[in-house]
């Protein structure tokens, strides 16, 4: 056991990995639900008015990109946790 990590180092590593996992996993819930709602609404609108597909697709992608932001924050934080801390 001389060359192995001490208990404190092992605990720090464990905390990093668990924290990064929880951060990414919990942070993916919100954007998932939000983008699902946006896609749902856009699909229904497209089914009702197929002639507006071009406009609706642009707007749908735009609002999905806005929804995605919080997910990307958590991605950034979990990557920083893993590689920087």
């Amino acid at each position: 056991m001389e060359n192995g990590p001490t208990l404190a180092e092992a605990l720090i590593q464990m905390g990093k990995f668990i924290g990064a996992g929880i951060c990414m996993g919990a942070g993916a819930i919100g954007p998932g639900i939000g983008e699902g709602h946006v896609g749902d609404g856009a699909m229904q609108a497209m089914a009702r008015q197929p002639e507006l597909i071009g406009v609706l697709t642009t707007r749908m992608l735009l609002s999905q990109a806005v929804c995605e932001t919080t997910g990307l924050y958590s991605l950034l934080i979990s990557i920083l946790m893993l590689f920087v801390l």
Partner: protein
């Protein structure tokens, strides 16, 4: 669709592809020998230079951001100079640019309630969109020279063509500047449009008790506005680097660059522009 290239473009394209493949193979041989923790040790550090004058945070600059910003400005100026004489019958490039500006102008005209501010807002929105699109695509889709720094901010290694160029929008300072700029302009437009008294009164609506809420609501706009762009572009760059390492640079990560640079980059530039227009119009109404 038939693609027709002239001789010069073909030679340039072939030279670029040969350099790209040779450097990619060299990178694959050399860089995939690094262990993972060694490759990602410095992934979040930035090259920082201390200026001889000034103090505190105002004397520290990131030279890469400044070089890339000036480079993008030069590219845009060159493109703008080549359109000094618009033709009545537009050629391919001119009609592409015209349709882009028409798209932005339609959005501005629909959103801004006051007719006097349609043209200034259009200039602002178009400038933002073109600058951010260029920097996002440069930072996400085009292989270039990247610098690795250690924790103190000194240069440790310079990589050729293994990573993308550093995008100015992957630095929070650029985004924060753009967002604060939009915020200040929206307030100035509101004062000009409504008069100072009505503008000051709009902070105390609907009841004077809501004043702190209004202040927080206005101040949180530039923060979320800048962090959204920063998170997308910096996260995309990190993820591209990570996945390219995991694939051992084997297939030259063109696909990743296509997704994170072109798709996400253009969408985020559009989002930034649309939100800038929306903030200005909400300040005006």
């Amino acid at each position: 669709m038939k693609l027709s290239l002239d001789r010069r473009t073909k030679i340039l394209l072939i030279v670029f592809l040969v350099i790209y493949v040779v450097v990619g193979v060299l990178n694959a041989i050399y860089l995939s020998k690094q262990s993972m923790s060694e490759a990602f040790k410095n992934v979040a550090n930035r090259w920082v230079v201390k200026l001889p004058f000034g103090e505190g945070i105002f004397s520290r600059i990131n030279p890469l951001t400044i070089f890339m910003t000036w480079g993008i400005m030069l590219i845009i100026i060159v493109i703008a100079l080549s359109f000094r004489k618009p033709q009545i019958i537009p050629d391919r490039k001119q009609s592409a640019l015209e349709s882009l500006m028409d798209f932005v102008y339609q959005m501005v005209e629909d959103a801004i309630p006051d007719q006097r501010f349609v043209r200034p807002t259009f200039y602002l929105a178009c400038t933002l969109f073109i600058f951010i699109v260029f920097s996002n695509i440069l930072g996400g889709a085009i292989p270039g020279i990247s610098v690795e720094a250690n924790a103190q901010g000194n240069v440790e290694k310079i990589y050729l063509f293994s990573d993308t160029w550093f995008s100015p929008t992957a630095d929070i300072n650029t985004n924060a500047f753009l967002a604060v700029f939009v915020f200040v302009i929206s307030q100035v437009f509101a004062i000009k449009s409504k008069g100072f008294k009505a503008w000051a009164k709009s902070w105390f609506e609907p009841i004077p008790l809501m004043f702190p809420m209004n202040v927080i609501g206005e101040l949180s706009k530039p923060i979320s506005h800048s962090l959204r762009l920063f998170g997308n572009i910096a996260g995309g760059a990190l993820l591209t680097y990570l996945l390219a390492y995991m694939a051992k640079y084997f297939f030259l990560p063109v696909i990743l660059w296509g997704f994170f640079g072109l798709f996400v980059g253009v969408i985020q530039a559009l989002v930034f522009t649309v939100l800038a227009i929306a903030y200005i119009s909400s300040a005006l109404s």
